[in-house]
């Protein structure tokens, strides 16, 4: 029985890569600058599919528009990288119904060469500042509960261990 479960699991694992087989997404370049255009093409998307394209970064997601697939499930589009996109690592996502694919894309600061050193994130026109960023530090209930449970548990167990004879 255990062997059968294991084999089923193994077969399932092997079948996983086949699930998205045939769907492709490729970009004409791996690095762009804000405000530039980039060509996107794909195949295996289903007949006349409408593919929604988005640019997803760590902090923002930008809609890039929709592309129309042909009868063979292929599409080709040219999209504009928003000028307000901050330099960084992004993922260009394509989605049509339940079918999805993504490709990595780097957005480099204007004029910065590829692989530039730290400091590149701060655009040249930005001013250096000593003021800490005002970040959204609000915690969810589960976060607050987890943190205080950890602190109280650590203090209690620590105290008990110290005074144990």
């Amino acid at each position: 029985m255990k062997r059968a479960i294991f084999l089923t699991f193994l077969v399932g694992l092997l079948a996983l890569p086949a699930a998205g087989h045939g769907t492709s997404l490729s970009l004409s370049r791996s690095q762009v600058q804000p405000g530039e255009r980039i060509k996107v093409k794909g195949g295996g998307w289903g007949e006349n599919a409408v593919i929604e394209l988005t640019l997803e970064g760590a902090l923002n997601t930008y809609p890039l528009g929709k592309a129309q697939g042909n009868a063979h499930g292929e599409f080709q589009a040219e999209v504009l990288i928003p000028a307000e996109a901050k330099p960084g690592s992004y993922t260009l996502n394509a989605q049509a119904g339940t079918t999805a694919a993504s490709a990595p894309l780097r957005v480099a600061p204007g004029g910065a060469p590829a692989g530039s050193e730290p400091g590149a994130e701060g655009a040249a026109e930005e001013r250096a500042s000593l003021e800490p960023l005002q970040l959204d530090r609000s915690w969810s209930r589960s976060e607050t509960a987890a943190v205080w449970a950890l602190i109280v548990a650590a203090a209690l167990v620590g105290g008990l261990l110290w005074f144990r004879k």
């Binding site: 960084g88 400091g119 203090a155 105290g159």
Partner: protein, 349 residues
């Protein structure tokens, strides 16, 4: 293990089932230690170890979200703070435990120095500790750089300027070493792999030598009186309280982040532990950055070589104690001066 089981069973009775203590080798910690080893200063090394454990666990969590690409590093830190579950807390815990580890390891070093515990035959134990001290400071530096905010960018610029002046000795820390990847990414690699591995290796050596050579005592101090299991229990207790304190600091004083770093600007000062280097730079410029910190670090290795008298009593070691604590005081005064002095341009950028 069989001997242990034979010892525990009644004569003629079948061997008992081995318990968890036996399975974990807990009995191996059942040996006498001096009663003074359960005084607070003797826990400073152990507390440093507890802090390192917090660092490792919180660091592994942060590594799931951090992006070591110079273009994405700062954004990923913002993501950690604002969006990752417990990210803000874990990041602050990581920073506060790093600060407390540097404080506890410095106090540990001062205590060892005061007690003369570096003397024969414990030279290697001491040098392993000094090696770990250097690694801990380098870990703190690489952690500062990884934020890629204004402080991180300036810290890296200073380090690159010093590394370029140092020639072959500093080549690994220059962007020119390779163009296949960025220096930030390589420093991240050091921060999460090379440095922790080296640290754990030295830690293993340090612990083994302490076990092998026993805890250092002065003549007249009782050899026995306690047990290492008691010491470990008390260390676990202090370690948990240390965690609770660190977590409270993380809650009430979360780690700050400046805006994305802009190159070619010098407006920040380094964290407190590095401020004395900033003061040296104020006086001697970038060349001082290349020469003075390595020299000061080398001085830490000297006590076992310079102080070779058999007596470890402080009263018999006035000269070296005066020199050692004088150096420590000088570094502290330099740090305070650098804190109070206005920010200066060192790199002529």
């Amino acid at each position: 293990m069989r001997e242990q089981l034979e010892k525990e069973k009644e004569p003629g009775a079948p061997l008992p089932e081995p318990g968890w203590k036996l399975r974990l080798g807990w009995q191996g910690n059942d040996y006498p230690i001096p009663a003074i080893a359960n005084r607070l200063p003797y826990f400073l090394g152990g507390l440093t170890f507890c802090g390192i454990l917090i660092q490792i666990l919180s660091g592994v969590y942060l590594a799931q979200y951090y992006n070591p690409d110079p273009l994405g590093a700062h954004s990923s830190v913002i993501y950690i703070v604002e969006r990752a579950w417990l990210g803000d807390f874990v990041r602050s815990l990581h920073l506060w435990s790093a600060n407390l580890v540097l404080i506890s390891v410095t106090l540990h070093l001062l205590w060892v120095f005061w007690r003369g515990s570096y003397k024969k035959p414990r030279e290697l134990t001491y040098w392993a500790g000094v090696g770990m001290l250097g690694i801990l400071f380098f870990l703190y530096f690489t952690g500062t750089v990884m934020k890629n905010d204004q402080e991180g960018v300036e810290a890296l610029a200073h380090s690159v300027a010093a590394a370029e002046r140092a020639g072959l000795a500093g080549v690994l820390l220059t962007p020119g070493f390779t163009r296949s990847t960025s220096l930030l990414t390589r420093l991240y690699g050091m921060h999460v792999s090379v440095l922790p591995l080296a640290l754990l290796g030295l830690l293993g050596l340090h612990f083994w030598l302490i076990r092998y050579l026993d805890i250092h005592t002065h003549p007249g101090e009782a050899e026995g009186g306690s047990n290492f299991q008691v010491h470990l229990r008390k260390l676990a207790a202090l370690g948990l309280l240390f965690f609770a304190l660190t977590a409270l600091l993380a809650v009430f004083s979360p780690a700050q982040l400046l805006s994305a770093g802009v190159s070619g600007v010098e407006i920040t000062k380094p964290p407190f532990f590095f401020l004395w280097i900033y003061a040296v730079e104020n006086v001697l410029g970038t060349p001082g950055l290349v020469v003075v910190p390595p020299l000061v670090y080398l001085l830490f290795f000297l006590p076992p070589l310079l102080d070779r008298k058999p007596s470890a009593r402080p009263g018999d070691r006035k000269l070296i104690l005066g020199a050692g604590f004088g150096l420590f005081l000088l570094l502290f005064v330099l740090a305070v001066y650098a804190r109070l002095a206005p920010a200066q341009q060192h790199l002529g950028m």
